[in-house]
């Protein structure tokens, strides 16, 4: 009973600032400018289907690469001595101390045709390569910005893996490959699914990365939503419809990956 009373402030907060706005988004999505019920906003989203699929595609790629890059890093950190783990984790989190916009902006100056990378390659008479204003640059931006969100949950699960388990497997003649597939991956499933969600969700709705690194031709659904509320095409109804669709997608992905997590918990 006591715990319920303690939760009341948060519940009130959540109702006012999460549930009601959510209802408003749904309400706006299904009404026209004059306030009548309509499906036209959802139908109008057809024009942006390619953008939506592009957003999903980019964020899936970014999530997979984050997982591939983050998994070994997280494992190696979790096997270090306690003191060193803190330092390494700090290095992982370090870029997050700097403003998100500034970090992305820095990539712009790195990747430009006249940027640092091309200038460096120019010393060896290579290039200039076209590194920016394409989809690759946008995905790179996503990976760079969100990889800590993959490493941290993986790390927190992996520190709980007992080193003796791995040694036991080695004693029993298990190959390195099988240690990874049979022991480390199953034991860190929870972290993998959390990591996938925490990387996928922000990258599918991101908007500034694509504008800065994609050159205006790789707009993602986040850019389009932003332009419906703050940009040239002011139309909150269509913007709400888009947000609704995005929410459903996120919900789908989350329930998909929660599957793994809970199965693991049951076993």
């Amino acid at each position: 009973m006591k715990s319920r009373i303690l939760a009341i402030p948060y519940i009130v907060w959540m109702i006012i600032f999460t549930v009601i706005p959510l209802g408003l988004v749904i309400f706006f999505a299904f009404t026209s400018q004059s306030g009548e019920f309509t499906l036209s906003n959802i139908i109008a989203m057809n024009d942006y289907l390619d953008v939506l699929f592009r957003s999903i595609e980019f964020s899936v790629i970014a999530t997979i690469i984050c997982l591939i890059l983050g998994f070994p890093v997280a494992f190696l950190i979790s096997r270090l001595a306690r003191g060193k783990q803190g330092t390494m984790l700090m290095i992982v989190i370090l870029p997050m101390w700097i403003n998100f916009l500034l970090r992305t902006y820095a990539w712009m100056t790195l990747l430009e045709e006249n940027g640092l990378i091309n200038r460096f390659l120019g010393l060896f008479h290579l290039g200039p390569f076209n590194l920016i204003n394409n989809s690759g640059a946008v995905i790179l931006g996503m990976i760079y910005n969100y990889i800590p969100f993959m490493i941290l949950p993986l790390y927190s699960v992996m520190t709980k893996i007992d080193g003796n388990v791995i040694e036991a497997a080695q004693d029993l003649g298990c190959s390195g490959f099988h240690i990874i597939t049979k022991i480390i991956i199953p034991l860190s499933k929870q972290g993998i699914s959390t990591g996938i969600i925490t990387v996928f969700v922000p990258s599918v709705s991101t908007f500034i990365i694509s504008r800065m690194l994609g050159g205006g031709t790789n707009d993602l659904i986040g850019d389009i939503i932003e332009s419906q509320f703050l940009g040239n095409s002011y139309n909150p109804h269509l913007g709400s419809a888009m947000s609704l669709v995005l929410m459903v997608i996120v919900l789908l992905i989350m329930s998909l990956f929660n599957q793994f997590g809970s199965e693991e918990a049951v076993i």
Partner: protein
């Protein structure tokens, strides 16, 4: 185990290097930027010192300190202290970087106003006209003074979002050039006091283009392929395409708009990127050769990089005016009018104009310009060109705005056909989500038993 350790070190070092690298560049970049910024302002201040003999009214001011110290004896005869004890906070919303505040080389316009009047100024900024519009429309922005552009002013007048001004509280309005009174967006000039104006022109890198740049046609020139930047907003982009085709920028004719869309689509293959303020880095850093932009910003870029030059397009261009308005919801109308009057004090307007590099509608400021600025077509475009070749945006009908947006989307995004794809997709995704969750909860129950 040792191998793992070495591997981890290598990984971490590369990661750290990557991060360190980008961090360094970002800080050095920003410090470099602030340096060049201060350079511009000092050179600008210097150039005004040089020509101090030119105009008569320049003698009335101490041109050495005109930017750094507000000379109270030179203010117009106006009772600034009448609201002193009312404890008023005035909320001002302006474009980012659009007023001489927090700059070492200039007196702070807002601080001086506070000292003079006892009214506190709460200064906020916006990035696009539409952002300001949505803030005012939704009632979220509680502003007393706003500075939107021409077409947005006419939209807000039409929707009753701004109110009529009491010009008896703004005697300094008499300084405003007659050419800027009663423009199309506010025909009787009841709602707005012009703040700055300018034209859209072309900035290019002299070393990166092979031919002489003469106008919009060069933005469609194969020779500049992949080095062209273009506006990332439909109104400006269509304005350029329509002018290039010889049509009015305010056309509501669908055929003309479609034609403009088709040449913009053609241009897409040549365009390196669609940008707004990113242009400062791309053109300034010599990654792009040619781009259309607003004259004041072009001047700033040229001051930073001597390889750049400008071109006033022969086909004609857009003239934009940013003007000061008072929203209908404003709580402190009289204080807001006092603020508007203060912004039009000669010295204050001069400081703002010197900082912004935009053109000024203020005759008092114009008289303070030295010959160099008066001869610079970016700051003071020739009258004949302005009269014959420029057009001010007016607000278009909702239908046309929607149509332009639709065409713009078609240019940037390829459209798909079937109208039911999206609702179907939504339904399937929802159904799948529900199915997954139900299955999970069932499984859990089974496992418990």
């Amino acid at each position: 185990m040792k191998k793992n350790f070495v591997l981890s070190i290598v990984l971490i070092i590369t990661l750290a290097m990557l991060m360190g690298c980008s961090n360094n560049t970002s800080t050095s970049e920003s410090s470099a930027k602030s340096k060049t910024l201060s350079n511009i302002s000092t050179t600008a201040a210097f150039s005004t010192d040089e020509g101090s003999k030119a105009a008569v009214s320049r003698d009335d001011f101490d041109m050495d300190t005109i930017l750094t110290r507000l000379d109270k004896s030179m203010l117009s005869n106006y009772d600034y202290s009448r609201l002193k004890d009312k404890n008023i906070t005035l909320s001002v919303c302006n474009w980012g970087e659009y007023m001489a505040i927090n700059q070492d080389e200039y007196f702070d316009v807002n601080r001086e106003f506070e000292k003079l009047t006892g009214i506190k100024v709460n200064y906020k900024t916006f990035a696009t006209n539409e952002e300001l519009y949505s803030k005012i429309k939704s009632g979220g922005g509680d502003y007393d003074v706003v500075i939107p552009s021409d077409y947005m002013i006419s939209k807000m007048i039409k929707e009753g979002l701004v109110q009529k001004l009491d010009y008896s509280n703004i005697p300094n309005f008499s300084y405003i050039d007659k050419d800027f009174v009663g423009l199309e967006y506010d025909p009787k000039n009841e709602y707005s006091v012009p703040y700055t104006w300018g034209i859209v022109c072309i900035v290019y890198n002299k070393n990166m283009v092979s031919k002489e740049i003469t106008g919009w046609c060069d933005l469609w020139d194969e020779a500049n392929k992949n080095h062209i930047l273009m506006f990332n907003n439909p109104r400006d982009a269509f304005g350029i395409a329509l002018t290039y085709l010889g049509y009015s920028q305010n056309t509501e004719n669908k055929k003309e708009l479609e034609e403009a869309a088709s040449i913009l689509k053609q241009q897409k293959n040549l365009v390196q990127a669609y940008v707004m303020d990113e242009i400062f880095d791309k053109v300034g850093g010599e990654s792009s050769a040619i781009a259309p932009y607003y004259a004041g910003d072009v001047q700033t870029m040229i001051d930073e990089n001597s390889n750049l030059d400008f071109c006033i397009p022969k086909e004609g261009t857009n003239k934009f005016v940013d003007a000061i308005c008072i929203p209908t919801a404003a709580k402190n109308k009289e204080a807001a009018e006092m603020y508007i009057n203060f912004l039009n004090e000669i010295q204050v307007a001069y400081a703002n104009c010197d900082y912004l590099c935009y053109s000024t509608p203020h005759t008092g400021v114009y008289n303070l310009f030295d010959d160099e600025i008066k001869a610079n077509p970016l700051r003071c475009p020739p009258d004949e060109y302005l009269a014959n070749k420029t057009e001010v945006f007016i607000n278009l009908s909702d239908d046309t705005n929607t149509y332009i947006q639709e065409l713009w989307n078609q240019i940037k995004i390829d459209k798909s056909k079937s109208p039911w794809l999206m609702p179907a997709f939504l339904l399937i995704a929802l159904a799948l989500t529900i199915f997954l969750n139900i299955r999970r909860s069932r499984k859990k129950k089974q496992d418990i038993f």
